[in-house]
Amino acid sequence: MLDWLYSLWPGLETSVTLLSLEPPGWGGNLLRGAMNSLIIALGAFALGCLIGIGGALGKLGGGPVTRDLLAVYTTVVRAVPELILILILYYAGTDLLNQALRAFGYRPVEISGLAAGIGVLGVVQGAYATEVLRGAIQSVPRGQLEAARAYGMTRFQTFRRVTAPAMLPLALPGLSNLWLIATKDTALLAIVGFSELTLETRQAAGSTRAYFTFFLAAGALYLIMTLVSGRIFGWIEARFRRGQAGARA
C-alpha cells in the first residue's frame, strides 16, 4: 500500500519500521514514555495547584512571616533554572525528607522515581501557580466576599462557595499555560534518568542511530499532547465562563 511512497522516499520505510509499535519497532517504548510523561505532568500539575492555592491564600491572608517566606519561595523558583532545581531537589530532597522523618521518630521512606519527579516538578509549578491564583483571587470583587461574610459563612465556606468559583475562570488561562509548561518540563527529568518520553527517545535514537526519525516522532507526540490539552482547556474555560460574561473586565 505504501510501496509507491517508499520508492519516492527511500528512508521512509526504515523509519516506519523503527517506529512500529511491536519490536523491532521502538514505537511501543515511545508511547510508554509518553504515558509516563503524562502521569508526571498530571501529578505535578495537581500538586502545583495545591501548593498554589495554599501559597496564594498565604500571600493574601497570611501573617507577615508567611508572606515573606512565600515571596522568597516564588522568587527563587522563578529565577533559578528548572534543571538546577530538579537536581538539587532530586538528590537533596530525599535526603532531607528522610532526615526529617528520622528526627521525628518515623521510619525513613523510599521515594520512587515517579514520586520524586512529581514532587520536584510540583514544587516548581507551585511557585508559578501561586502567582497565577493570587492574581485571580485578588480580582474577585471585595463586595462578594463581604456579602458572604455577612451571610455568616466561615472563611472556608467563603473560599469554597464564593472565591473559588469566581476566580477559576480568571485563573484558567494562566493555569492552562502552566499545564503546557508541566508537560514540557517533564523532558528535564530525562537528565536525572527518569524514563519519560525524552529519555526513551534518546535511548531509541542512540541504539538505532536514527536520531532524526526519533526526535521528530517524539516532537510530534509532544505536539499532540499540547494541542489536545489546549483544546480541552479551551472547552473548560468556555464552560466556566458561562453566565460570567462580565467577569473579565
Binding site: V109, S112, G113, G206
Partner: protein, 255 residues
C-alpha cells in the same frame, strides 16, 4: 488552609509508599551502553552486564530490582539512598573509593583511543595534539583525558558514549577515548566504518582503576560481602564464562 497542607502531605505519602527493605535496587546507567547494558525495542534491558547482575543476584540469593539512573548522578543516587548498589561498568578508582565502597572486580578491559580512519594519531598526548577528543561525562576516560590530553587537545564531554560515537561518525570529533569492548561493538556497526582503533592508552592505575566492581554505600558491608560471594560463585560454577562466551570472543575478567 491547614486541610490543604494535610491533603498535600497525604498525596506525597501515598506516592512515596514504603518499599520492602529486602529488595536490592541495582543502579544501572539510564543511557545505553552496548554491549553491556542497553534497552531493546521491547523496553527490556539486555546485555552482558545485565545478565551478570541477574546471575550474581541469583547466586547471592538477593532480590534485585534494576533501577536505571542517570549516569551523571549515579554516585549521588547511591549516597542519598535512591539505589543500593551500582553495577554500571564503574571502574574502581581511588577517587571514587573516597566516596563509596566497591565489591571485588568482575571485569577489566583496556582503555583505547578510536579515531578517524584518514587521520594520523596514536594514544599519546603528542599523538593527539591539536585533535578534538570526545569522552563520556563522569567516567575514568574523562578524568584520564583531562589529566593527560587536555593540555594539547580540545576535550568535548558527552552525556552518553553513544552520542560521542555519533559525533565521531559525523566528523565533529577526531577521536574518542573509551572502553575497548564498547568501542569494538561500535566499530562493527555501519557508523563505525569511519573509524579505527588507534591504540591503547598508557596505564595509570590511580585514574583508570583496577577493574569494574559493584559500588555500595560506605559501611554497607553486608551487601558488599553478599555481592562478593555472588561474584565468586558465578565464576566458580562457570556461569560467568558461559555468559561471556555469548558476547565476547575472549575472556574479559582480567588477570
Amino acid at each position: 488552609m491547614k486541610s490543604l497542607f494535610l491533603a498535600g502531605c497525604a498525596t506525597l505519602a501515598l506516592c512515596a509508599g514504603a518499599a520492602s527493605a529486602d529488595v536490592v535496587r541495582v543502579g544501572i546507567a539510564a543511557e545505553p551502553y552496548p554491549p553491556f547494558a542497553a534497552p531493546d525495542a521491547a523496553g527490556n534491558w539486555v546485555g552482558w552486564e545485565i545478565e551478570i547482575i541477574g546471575a550474581v543476584c541469583a547466586a547471592a540469593e538477593l532480590d534485585c530490582e534494576l533501577t536505571p539512573t542517570a549516569w551523571d548522578g549515579i554516585i549521588p543516587a547511591l549516597v542519598s539512598g535512591r539505589i543500593d548498589t551500582i553495577m554500571a561498568s564503574m571502574s574502581i578508582t581511588e577517587d571514587r573509593l573516597q566516596t563509596i565502597d566497591f565489591s571485588d572486580p568482575y571485569y577489566n578491559t583496556p582503555t583505547v583511543i578510536v579515531g578517524q580512519r584518514d587521520m594520523e594519531m596514536d594514544a599519546t598526548p603528542e599523538g593527539l595534539a591539536g585533535m578534538v577528543l570526545g569522552v563520556q561525562v563522569s567516567t575514568i576516560h574523562q578524568t584520564y583525558a583531562q589529566t593527560y590530553f587536555e593540555a594539547g587537545s580540545e576535550l568535548r564531554t558527552y552525556q552518553t558514549q553513544d552520542e560521542a560515537n555519533q559525533d565521531l561518525a559525523s566528523g565533529r570529533i577526531d577521536a574518542t577515548q573509551a572502553d575497548s569492548l564498547a568501542m569494538d561493538d561500535f566499530l562493527n556497526t555501519d557508523a563505525g566504518a569511519c573509524c579505527e582503533l588507534k591504540g591503547t592508552v598508557a596505564m595509570d592505575e590511580a585514574i583508570l582503576g583496577s577493574g569494574v566492581g559493584a559500588g555500595v554505600r560506605k559501611g554497607d558491608d553486608a551487601l558488599r560481602e553478599a555481592l562478593n560471594a555472588g561474584i565468586a560463585a558465578i565464576i566458580a560454577d562457570g556461569t560467568y564464562d558461559e555468559i561471556t562466551a555469548r558476547y565476547f570472543a575472549t575472556s574479559i575478567y582480567g588477570q
